[in-house]
C-alpha cells in the first residue's frame, strides 16, 4: 500500500466539507472517512521516543521505502506521473496559510483531481486541512464522518493501513487498531445482474 498525503493547512473544514463544487474531494469523502480533528501534536509525528521524535516518513525510510517530501507542485506532478515513490507527502506552499478565497478551494479540488488520475488502487490518500482530514484507502474499514480524532492519530493510522506494526510510544492512536481491514477483492458486484441491467431495454433480449 502506497501512502499519499496532501496537506493544505489553510483549508477550513466549514468550507471544505460543505462546498458542493468540490467534486473530487466529495467523491473521496464518500469513498472513505473524514472529520474534524482535535489539535494535539503534529500530524506527521508517529512516536515520541526517548530523545527522538519519529516521523511517519522516517518510519517508512527505516523500512527502505522510497519517500518524498515536497512543497513544490512541479515536483509533485512529476513524482505522481513517474510513480517512483512509496510514501509521498506534499505541503501545498502555493496556497495561502489562511483566509482562503472560494477560488483557493476550487484550485485545491482541481489539483486533487489531477493527482487522483495518476494513482494506483493500492494507495492510501489523506487530504489534510486546518484541523480536519479526508482519508481513503480500499482496505480502510471506517467510512463516513469520523468524530473525536486527533491530529496525532493520522500518522499511526496511516502506518497501519500501509501494513506496518505500530512502533512503541506512538503519540496518537490508530483508528484501525484491532479492526479487521477490508478485503479489497470483495468489491465486484454480481456480474450477471449488472449485465442484464446494462442490456435490458434493448428490445433484443
Amino acid at each position: 500500500m502506497n501512502v499519499l498525503v496532501l496537506n493544505f493547512s489553510g483549508a477550513e473544514p466549514v468550507t471544505l466539507f460543505a462546498d458542493e463544487r468540490l467534486e473530487n474531494l466529495r467523491r473521496l469523502m464518500d469513498m472513505g472517512c473524514f472529520g474534524e480533528l482535535n489539535s494535539s501534536g503534529e500530524w506527521n509525528v508517529l512516536a515520541r521516543q526517548e530523545n527522538h521524535t519519529l516521523t511517519l516518513m522516517e518510519y517508512f525510510q527505516q523500512a527502505d521505502k522510497l519517500c518524498v517530501d515536497t512543497s513544490d507542485p512541479v515536483t509533485l506532478r512529476e513524482k505522481l506521473s513517474v510513480g517512483d515513490w512509496d510514501y509521498l507527502q506534499y505541503s501545498a506552499a502555493s496556497f495561502p496559510a489562511e483566509n482562503w478565497s472560494a477560488d483557493d478551494y476550487l484550485r485545491l479540488d482541481n489539483d486533487l483531481g489531477e493527482a487522483l488520475q495518476e494513482l494506483d488502487d493500492d494507495t492510501a490518500i489523506t487530504v489534510l486541512g486546518k484541523n480536519c482530514f479526508v482519508l481513503v484507502s480500499a482496505i480502510n474499514p471506517i467510512s463516513g464522518e469520523h468524530k473525536g480524532g486527533s491530529t496525532s492519530d493520522i500518522a499511526p493510522t496511516l502506518a497501519q493501513l500501509a501494513g506496518y506494526p505500530l512502533p512503541s510510544a506512538t503519540e496518537g492512536k490508530s483508528w484501525v487498531d484491532g479492526m479487521e481491514l477490508n478485503n479489497t477483492s470483495g468489491l465486484t458486484a454480481d456480474e450477471q445482474e449488472i449485465l442484464r441491467d446494462r442490456l435490458s431495454g434493448l428490445g433484443y433480449v
Binding site: E23, R26, R27, L28, M29, D30, M31, G113, L116, Q117, L119, D120, D121, T123, I125, V136, A138, G144, L187, A189, D190, E191, Q192, E193, I194, L195, R196, D197, R198, L199, S200, G201, L202, G203, Y204, V205
Partner: protein
C-alpha cells in the same frame, strides 16, 4: 452558402413506402423522387441500427468502424457486453470515462477540418458526443441513469407480479388510497442495492387520477388514468456527498381492481447529466430551454413497457407521438437557425413503432394468438409514415436552390414470426457441448451449462457465431486448421436450413467475416454471420447465450416485426432532391456524396463513391 440537409427515418421500409407513393399518399417524398430520385439503399451486415448508421457516418464497412452488433462478447469470459461504448476507469478514485466503440473517421470530422459547420441531432453511436465543429446531440448509445439501454419500473398493488428481466417491479401497499413508495435510480456498486427517490402517491378516484408528491420538480404531479404524465425531475443521493438527477414520466394503467402504474426508465437530465450527451456540453440543456424537456436516452420509445404489457398499444402510440413531436421541435428549432453546412436529424420512431405493430398487418402472426388481434391497428405503420412524410415536407421548406436534400433509412422492416435457437442448432450438430448430465433447456442465459473445453462454436447477438479459438477465447480449443473445418461445417450445415413445421427455408446463407468485412477492426467481428429469410430471426433466447429446447419457436412477443435478416432483403430507402446514380447505392456512398457537395475530398478509408457524379 452551401447546405446539406439529411433526414434519417430509422427502419423506414421500402415496400411500404413504394406502395404508398404509388397510391399518392406520401406527397413530399413523391415530390423529392420527381425532383431528384428514389432508390432502395443497400444496408450493412448486419442490418441493425448501430451498425448501419456507423457505416453512414464513416463511409466504411463495419470492419472500418468496429460496430458489428448491439452486443459483442468478451473472449475472456464468453459474456455478452454492450458493443457501442465502454466504461474505462483508471483507478477507483476517479470517475469512469465513457469511450465510444465506433471508430474510424466520420465525414463530419473531415468537414470540421475544413471549417464546415454541422448540426447533428441523435445520430447513433456518437456517445460520448463527437467533438464536431458545430453542435451534436447524442442518440442511440446514450444509457438511462442505471447505465443500460433503459430499465422501466412497474408499480402494482398486487404482490404476485414478478419482474421480467428488462424491468423492475415495486409492490405498493395502499392505505386510505395513499402510498409511500419510490422511483428506482442507479445501482450502488458497493452495497449492490438501488438508490431510491421517495414519492407519495394519492389516488383521487372521483377524478380518475393520482397525485404524486415529492421533493422533485414539480413537487406535485398529476397522472390521469390511461395517460402519460409530464416529466418529473428526481434527484438520487448516490453518496453522502453526491447527487445525480434524472427525469421520469408515468403512465397510469388502472386504478381498479388493482392499482397499476408504469414509470419510464430514468433519463439523464440535461442540466447536469451524469456524462456529457452533447457537444458542446451545455448544448443539450440550451435545447431543453428552447423546446422543453425531452427524452435523452438513446432508446426513447418505451417498447419494453408494451412488450411486457405494462401499458397497452394506445399508450405506446401516445408515447411514440411524444417522442416524434419533441424530435420535430428540435429539428424545426435548429433548421430555423441553420445557415450553412451539414444538418442531420434522426427520427427513430418509425423503427420502434413498426417493431411493435407489425403483427396487426398479419392476422395469422403467432403473436396475435396470445395477445389478440385488433384490426384497428392494421394501418398504424402507414399512418405513422404519413407523419414522417409531413416531417420531410417541413424540413424541405428550409432547403434552397443550392441545398442538397436527403431522406434515408438505415434498413427496412419485416415480419418476425419464427425464431431459431442458434445455440441449440450448434449443440445438435456437434459444435457446442453441454456439461455432462445437462441438456438444452436446463440452463439459462450466459451459456450457463456450456462445456467450453469441448465447444467449437457459439452464438450470441443477432445472428453472430463465434468460434472457440485457441489463444483467443479463454478456453479456446480450435487450432487454425480445426477452426477452418468448423467454419466450413457450420456454413454447409446451416445454409438452407429448413423449418420443417412450415416447410420453409429459414436460413438463406451463412457468410464468413472475411467475405463481408475488411479493415482494422476485422479481428473484432463475429466469425460467421447468419442470414435469415423473411419472417425469421434468431430466437429471443439466443442474443444472451441461451441454449433452449427445440430449434424453431413461434414469436409470441408483441415485438413482432424485425429487420435483422439477410441484408439483401432488408434494404433502406434513399431520396434526394438531385438526380443520382440509382444503380445499387449503399449507405457507404453517402459520406463521399455529402463531402463532395462541400468540395471536401473523401477520407482515405471511405469505400463508397459520390452518387451525384
Amino acid at each position: 452558402m452551401k447546405k446539406v440537409i439529411a433526414i434519417g427515418l430509422d427502419g423506414f421500409e421500402p415496400k411500404i413506402v413504394e406502395a404508398m407513393i404509388a397510391r399518392g399518399e406520401l406527397p413530399n417524398l413523391q415530390r423529392l423522387q420527381e425532383q431528384g430520385g428514389y432508390s432502395r439503399l443497400g444496408t450493412t451486415h448486419s442490418a441493425q441500427t448501430p451498425v448501419a448508421w456507423s457505416t453512414f457516418s464513416t463511409g466504411t464497412n463495419p470492419g472500418g468502424h468496429g460496430i458489428f452488433d448491439f452486443l459483442t462478447r468478451d473472449p475472456n469470459t464468453y459474456l455478452p457486453v454492450m458493443a457501442l461504448s465502454r466504461y474505462e476507469q483508471k483507478n477507483s478514485f476517479v470517475l469512469p470515462k465513457v469511450v465510444n466503440m465506433r471508430r474510424g473517421t466520420t465525414f463530419w470530422d473531415l468537414l470540421s477540418e475544413k471549417e464546415v459547420q454541422s448540426t447533428i441531432l441523435r445520430v447513433p453511436c456518437a456517445y460520448p458526443p463527437d467533438q464536431v465543429k458545430g453542435r451534436m446531440l447524442s442518440g442511440v448509445g446514450v444509457p438511462d441513469l442505471r447505465g443500460g439501454f433503459g430499465t422501466p419500473t412497474f408499480y402494482s398493488s398486487r404482490t404476485d407480479i414478478h419482474a421480467d428481466q428488462a424491468e423492475k417491479v415495486v409492490s405498493v401497499s395502499l392505505n386510505k388510497d395513499m402510498s409511500a413508495t419510490h422511483v428506482i435510480g442507479p445501482r450502488d456498486p458497493k452495497t449492490k442495492s438501488d438508490h431510491k427517490f421517495d414519492i407519495n402517491i394519492q389516488i383521487v378516484r372521483s377524478e380518475n387520477k393520482i397525485v404524486v408528491t415529492s421533493q422533485g420538480q414539480p413537487d406535485r404531479l398529476e397522472v390521469h388514468l390511461g395517460k402519460w404524465s409530464k416529466w418529473l425531475k428526481v434527484k438520487f443521493k448516490v453518496g453522502m456527498m453526491q447527487t445525480v438527477s434524472g427525469i421520469v414520466r408515468f403512465n397510469l394503467r388502472q386504478l381498479e381492481p388493482d392499482f397499476e402504474l408504469y414509470a419510464s426508465p430514468v433519463n439523464f437530465e440535461t442540466e447536469e447529466p451524469l456524462f456529457a450527451i452533447s457537444h458542446p456540453k451545455e448544448y443539450a440543456h440550451e435545447l431543453a430551454m428552447k423546446i422543453g424537456r425531452y427524452y435523452t436516452a438513446g432508446m426513447a420509445e418505451d417498447h419494453d413497457g408494451l412488450n411486457l404489457n405494462r401499458f397497452d398499444e394506445g399508450a405506446y402510440l401516445d408515447q411514440c407521438r411524444f417522442v416524434m413531436r419533441e424530435r420535430r421541435r428540435m429539428m424545426e428549432y435548429e433548421l430555423g437557425r441553420f445557415e450553412s453546412g451539414y444538418f442531420f436529424c434522426l427520427f427513430d420512431t418509425p423503427d420502434r413503432l413498426a417493431h411493435m405493430f407489425w403483427r396487426f398487418r398479419e392476422p395469422e402472426h403467432p403473436s396475435n394468438k396470445l395477445h389478440g388481434y385488433n384490426p384497428e391497428f392494421a394501418n398504424v405503420i402507414e399512418e405513422h409514415y404519413l407523419e414522417c412524410d409531413a416531417v420531410v415536407g417541413e424540413a424541405m421548406k428550409f432547403a434552397d436552390n443550392e441545398t442538397l436534400f436527403i431522406v434515408l433509412s438505415d434498413h427496412g422492416m419485416n415480419s418476425f414470426q419464427r425464431g431459431l435457437n442458434l445455440n441449440t442448432w450448434l449443440y445438435e450438430n456437434g459444435f457446442l457441448a453441454l456439461k455432462p448430465g445437462s441438456k438444452p433447456g436446463d440452463g439459462g442465459d450466459f451459456f450457463e451449462n456450456v462445456d467450453w473445453d469441448k465447444t467449437k462454436a457459439y452464438a450470441m447477438g443477432l445472428g453472430c457465431v463465434f468460434l472457440n479459438i485457441k489463444g483467443r477465447e479463454a478456453n479456446g480449443i480450435l487450432s487454425d486448421d480445426e477452426a477452418e473445418a468448423t467454419r466450413a461445417g457450420v456454413v454447409s450445415g446451416l445454409t438452407g436450413l429448413v423449418d420443417t413445421d412450415r416447410s420453409a427455408v429459414a436460413v438463406r446463407s451463412v457468410v464468413r467475416r472475411e467475405q463481408v468485412y475488411s479493415g482494422p477492426f476485422l479481428s473484432e467481428a463475429p466469425d460467421l454471420l447468419v442470414n435469415f429469410s423473411e419472417g425469421y430471426r434468431v430466437s429471443w433466447d439466443t442474443p444472451l447465450g441461451g441454449v433452449p429446447q427445440g430449434l424453431f419457436r413461434d414469436n409470441h412477443k408483441r415485438w413482432s416485426g424485425d429487420h435483422v435478416i439477410d441484408p439483401a432483403l432488408s434494404t433502406g430507402v434513399l431520396f434526394m432532391n438531385q438526380k443520382f446514380r440509382t444503380v445499387s447505392p449503399r449507405l457507404a456512398d453517402l459520406a463521399p456524396t455529402i463531402l463532395n457537395s462541400f468540395g471536401v475530398p473523401k477520407g482515405a478509408d471511405m469505400e463508397g463513391s459520390d452518387l451525384l457524379s
